[in-house]
Each structure stands twice: as C-alpha cells, then as structure tokens.
C-alpha cells in the first residue's frame, strides 16, 4: 500500500502531524492561561521590552473608534509603519506602509505597490477594532509600529515585503529554524500559507538550505530567480539567544518565535506564536517530532539560555 509506505517514511523521519502537535505538545506544554501573553501582541511586546529584548518600536495603539479618528495625528511623523491587529493570526489584517506620497500625505504606499487613502486605512483599522481578524471575532486593538528595514542579505531573495525568521523553541531549546521570504504571490507577506517561500536554516551555523513553496521544494526564489540556498544569516548566535530567551519571558513550552533582521537595529522580536505551523519541517527536510522527543529527555537548564542554545546547536546541526 502506498499510504502505508508513506506512513512509514513520515514516522521514520519523525515528522510531526497536526493531531500530535495539538494533543501532545501544545496541550501539554502550553498552559491556556499563558496564551494571552502571546496572542495579544501588545502584551508580548511589553514583556519582551521589560526583559530588555529588542522589538520593533511601538508608535501607537488604536483602541477605540475615537483613536481611529486621530490616526492622522498619530501618524503625522511617520513615513513608514505597520498596522496590525493585536490578536491577529496567520498574518491576516497586517498592512505594511512603505512610504507616503510626497505631496499628498494622505496617500499611503503599501509594500506590495497598492495605494491606500487615509479613509481606507481608517476603515481597515476600524475593521480590526471590531474583531474581523481576531481569534473568535472579539473586539480588538490595532498596533502601529516601526516598519522593519530588512537587512541587505535578503535583498536578492525576497519580493517586496520583509523576510522573517521563524524559530521553534521547545522547552527553551531552539530546535528548528527557517527564513520566510515574501513573494509576489504572498503580496509581500512572510506567511507560508499566503504563498511565501520558506527556507530551512541550519541551527548550528545559520546557513540556509532548500526552500519550500506551498508544499513543494524549491531552491530559487520564484520572483527574483536567485538562489536561496547557502546564504549565511548574519548575527545568527544573537538570533538564537534571543529566541531561546523568549521561552523564559512567556513560559510557553512549545513556542514559535518570529524574528526580523533590521539593517540598523539588528534582530528584533516580531511576534510569538503558541501554535506554530508545521511547514518548517518541509523547509528543513527534517521531522520536528524526532527533535522534540529528544529535547524532552534533556535536563532543565533553568534560565541559562546560552547553555540551551549550545546544546541544541550541537544536537541539531545539519
């Protein structure tokens, strides 16, 4: 049977399925009480700041329709910024403004080339407030924050938007990483299910491997045609340390950490995810389940994140 041989292949490689992720890892290691810390991006940002970790600067929070009316004042000083729902998921509802019209300041140029009028932006913000993008449709807040200027290393292999690095941190150990490269298809967004390319990163060295587009393997960027393999991500050890510390900050055992590399400010924590996706396994051509089971047998190193990173890098080198 073909199914049976596939089943054998997948489990031999320790590929984690959704049922196992939900039942064995999220349910056991992520207490529900801690969810708000990561589901509310405002709170996770505050927590990270309090721990002295770098995050994109917060320009403002829109909490009410009245706040939304004051958008022009809030944004007066800003040429580029990001609007995102505090409780969004999967990148939905995020608007990235790269610059504004020189003469017409109420025209916002989005990163994917579209242009938004002030009124449209305000409408988008009020949709966020009424909960269109939030989990469960609850009323939400809109965050306005610094628009990351991506590091030149990714210039050749991303289309429009900002690439980010997703790291799965399990019990404080960074176990798997990939970089997510926006494409024309993803509209400049770095989410795999929106059409971005993911490329695996060697945990030990920070060098990229083969990428994945949808569910297929690719080795060059679909829009720019440049190779996405063999690229050294700069400041990799810093990125690893930052990811590992996130576990100490929010306390979730099974965590997806999204980090962006700003050309001036270096690695910044973009957001945290209590239900990280599983495509990272395809990008790395490695099963996550195998690594998670291995980590479960390791000792608890407390808050010594450097030791955790070292151990993980030694164990999971490509």
């Amino acid at each position: 049977m073909k199914l049976l041989s596939r089943l054998r292949q997948l489990s031999a490689r320790g590929v984690l399925g959704l049922n196992e992720r939900n039942g064995d890892y999220i349910m056991r290691h992520n207490p529900r009480a801690l969810y708000p810390l990561v589901d509310d991006k405002l709170r996770s940002k505050e927590l990270a700041l309090a721990a002295g970790m770098a995050v994109p600067a917060l320009y403002g929070v829109v909490r009410t329709e009245h706040d939304a009316g004051e958008l022009p004042q809030t944004l007066a000083e800003r040429d580029s910024f990001v609007v995102k729902p505090a409780h969004g998921s999967g990148g939905d509802g995020i608007v990235v403004v790269s610059h504004r019209g020189h003469r017409r300041r109420d025209r916002f140029h989005l990163i994917d080339g579209k242009i938004m009028q002030l009124a449209e932006l305000r409408y988008h913000v009020s949709n966020i407030l009424s909960g269109q993008y939030s989990l469960g449709g609850n009323p939400d807040q809109a965050l306005i924050e610094y628009c990351v200027q991506h590091d030149p290393v990714f210039q050749a292999i991303s289309y429009l938007g900002i690439p980010d690095i997703r790291i799965i941190v399990f019990l404080g150990y960074p176990v798997m990483a990939m970089v997510r490269l926006p494409t024309r298809l993803s509209g400049g967004k770095a989410n795999l299910h929106q059409g971005a390319v993911g490329a695996g990163i060697d945990i030990a060295t920070g060098v990229t491997g083969v990428g994945v587009l949808a569910n297929d393997m690719v080795d060059e960027h679909p829009d720019t045609g440049n190779m996405i393999t063999g690229i050294q991500v700069p400041r990799w050890d810093e990125i690893m340390a930052l990811a590992a510390r996130c576990h100490d900050v929010v306390g979730l055992g099974f965590l997806g950490v999204d980090i962006v590399l700003d050309r001036e400010r270096g690695p910044l924590i973009l957001e945290l995810n209590a239900r990280p996706g599983l495509n990272i396994q395809i990008a790395n051509r490695a099963g996550l389940g195998k690594r998670l089971r291995e980590v479960e047998a390791w000792p608890d190193r407390g808050t010594d994140f450097a030791a955790r990173v070292q151990r993980a890098q030694a164990a999971f080198a490509a």
């Binding site: 596939r6 997948l10 490689r13 959704l18 039942g23 409408y123 009020s126 009424s130 395809i282």
Partner: protein, 507 residues
Amino acid sequence: MSLRPVLIIAALLGLIGLSLFSYKVIVLGFPLVPNETTDVWTVEARIAFEALPGSVKVSLQIPTLTPGYTVFKENFVSPSFGFTTLYTASGRTAQWAVRQAEGPQTLYYRAVVYRDRANLREDTTPTLPPVPVLDEPYNTAMQVLVDEVRAASADAATFTSELLRRLNDPSPDQNVALFLSQVTTPTELAQAASTLLAGNRIPSRLVRGIQLLEQQRNAAIVPWLEIHDGDRWLYFNPTSGEPGLPQEFLFWWRGSQPLVHVEGGRNTDVRLAVTKNVAEAMVVAEARAERARSRLVEFSLFSLPIQTQAVYSVLLLIPIGALVIVLARNVVGIQTFGTFMPVLIALAFRETRLFSGVVLFTLLVGLGLAIRFLLEKLRLLLVPRLATVLVSVVLLMLLVSVISAKLGVEVGLSVALFPMVILTMVIERMSIVWEERGAKEALQQGLGSLVVAAICYAVMGMDYLEHMVFVFPELLLLFLAATLLLGRYRGYRLSEFVRFRAFERAP
C-alpha cells in the same frame, strides 16, 4: 498524560450503551429494523343469549395467565349492561349485569394478544392437594393405578406421562376402564387425570385454550393439563400424554367451570373467534415494557408528545454528524468553514435533497459573496455589515423561493430551511479568507465544507441509522466513546500525506 482514563471512560460508556441496547433488544424486543411488524391476534368471545324477564347476570372466564403470550388491549362491548372484571380463585372473570332485559342479547369481549417469550413463567406455586377420597370401587382402583404408575415412573413429569398413556390406551386395563366408563370428552379425560394425579399428591389444573390460527370464526376449545413438579408448571396433552404446549396456543381459562355462566337467560351461545393481524413492532415492544414496569421505557423518547418526538428524531442525528466532522477534520484533514456548519447544512439537505441542496447552497453563498464584496466598498462596521449580509441572505432566499414557485420548480421552496445565520457567517468568513489568502483557498475551504456536508447528509440520511438512534438513544453513548477515543488520536491526518509528500523524494 496517560491514555488510560480515556480508555476506561470510553469502555464504560460503550458498556452502558451496549447493555442498555441489548436489554431493549433481547428482553423488551425493541425492533432493530424500521417499520418492523410483529404478529398479533385479536381474540373475541361473543356471547348471545335470550334474556328472560328480570335481572340478568353473565360471567365470562377471560384470559389471565397466558404462558407465551401477553394480552395487551382488552375491550368489552356491552350495551346497557353494567360491567366489571374480577379475579377469582381460578383466574379472571368478566361480569355483566343488568336489572331489566328482554329478548336476544349479545355481549362481546375482545382482546389483542402478542407472542411474548418472557411470559413463560407462572407466578404461583400451588400447595399439595389432599388425596381425594372416592367412593368404592373407585377409591381402590385409584390406589392400585397410582401405585402401578408410580412404580413405572421417576418423577411428577414421567408419572403424568405414564398415567396419560394408560388413560389413552386403546385397550385399557380394568382399573383404567373403570375411570373411563364415565369419560366421554377430552375435558372429562383431563378431569379424571387430574383426580388421579391428586391421588399421587401432584398439583394439577385443567386448562382450556384455543389455537391462534390465521382466521377462525368459531375456535375449538381445547383442554390441556397443567401439572406442577414442585418447581414449575409443566404442560401435557391429556389425549396423548405428550408434554409441552401446542404451537400458538392461548390459555383462556383454568378450572372445571364452564366458559360462560348466564343467570336469567337461556339459549346461551358462546363463540370464540380469532383474527391474525400485524402491528408495528414498536407498539408491541412498548406494551411489553410497560407490563414489565420498565423504567427505561417510562423515560424513553416514546413518552414524549409526537411533535417533540419528531424534533428529537432529527436532533439525535446531530451527534452522528458530529462524529463525521471529527473524522473529516482530525483523521482525513478536510478544512471547513465553521466547525459544525456542515452538519447544519446537511440537515437542510434532508429537506431539499442533495443535488438541489448543493445547487441552492452554492447559489446563495455565491450571491451572498457578491453582495459582501459590494459592501466592502461601503466601509461598514463589522456588525452592521454582518446584519446587512444576513438581511440580504433572507431576501435572496425569498427571491429564490418566489422565482422557483413561478417557474413551478418545487424544490426552490425548501430553500427557506437553510440556516440563514450560518450562511451569513460562512459568507463573511469566506470573503475574509478570499481577501487574505486568495480565491483558491477560499474555494477550497468552501468545497471542503460542501463535501463534508454531503457526507454528513449521506450518513445522517440512512433510515436505518435514524431508526437505531431514535429507538436506542443509548447508542449515542457509543458515538461518545468513539469521539473520546478519536480525541486521543495522535497519528497523521490523511491530508498530511499529501502535505508532507516532499519527504518522499528527499534523501
């Protein structure tokens, strides 16, 4: 986290469900197949007589203890007569009485009986009868006969067989012949046997009954002999000595008194008639359960008013749909809009039928999406926008109904059964997915929902399943157990074999 508590709870639920189920099937005879019928017989006693001037009193023996059968509907037709039933030493009597009557009178007793294997037990253990004291030469003949038969037998049953064999011997010995000299009918033979059995202190009763045949206008009354072996009642054919009961034999009354006794009347004629017909198995099972004083049935769905029953016969299908959803999402991995939306759509499909249901659903969602995209331009707040879509959906449903009525397409009318709030939410969610993730994913999820709804419809539409959960709601405990077990399923979803197919080519 150990799997054990889930296994234990699931096993318990399964056990409870299965035992209730088998009790209802085996003991109460609840039907396993929809519209199952069972044989019932309507038996009737018709008493005709000519009343003499003055008061009239009629006593009729009626069935009470009927091994193998249960009487469940009785009625008494007796114009102008006062009527009562009473229990007597030998059984049950119906009594009609009137102060003044004249001329020909007819009274009826009617009852419906059904086969009931559970009703084989008898309720009384009789005391040992005294040895009868007879006139000579009968007394000596009895003594000799009893001694002979006892010597040739081992227990009450073989004693009875041997005795009846001798009584029915074509060339009887002289003691037997003495007893048989006064016997002309099988009833009298049975009475003589009864006397001789008492000679050996075996309790016995003369029973009269009828054969439950297809159709009988004037059923023959057959005498039978019941003896008690100290443990239970045994039955013998008095004219052959064979043990057991004839096929389809209904005990009508016991004792030596006549079937009917009329005071103040003459030319009495009594006839027993039988008609076989069929009744719904469920009706009979309920009657049986009621007799057994089963709490189970008292608290069953059948105690609810008919309309409520109709509601529940649909509601009980929802757990089945829920199990289908669990399988579709966690084992197969199909994405749908709204967790249980497909179940509700499937319920609507029950009225519209599948094909037209799918067409109507697609039509409504398509039109709703078009309206939703137009609304996007108006920049409404979320809740007013949802309300606008809801109103539009209702108007669209109305439009579809009216147009299809004009065209004479009847199925368009049933569009009103679609859950409009659910449709509205589907439209909203679909439009968001459409905008954020692209048309492909939106259509994929929409199709997924429709496919799961169709599967739910197919499963929930099985008459057999509907019958089973309605008659045996305890089977839902099995569904619950299955759902619990699936809740601990940690294996791959079928869709993940496709999703992770890249691993196959990888080194």
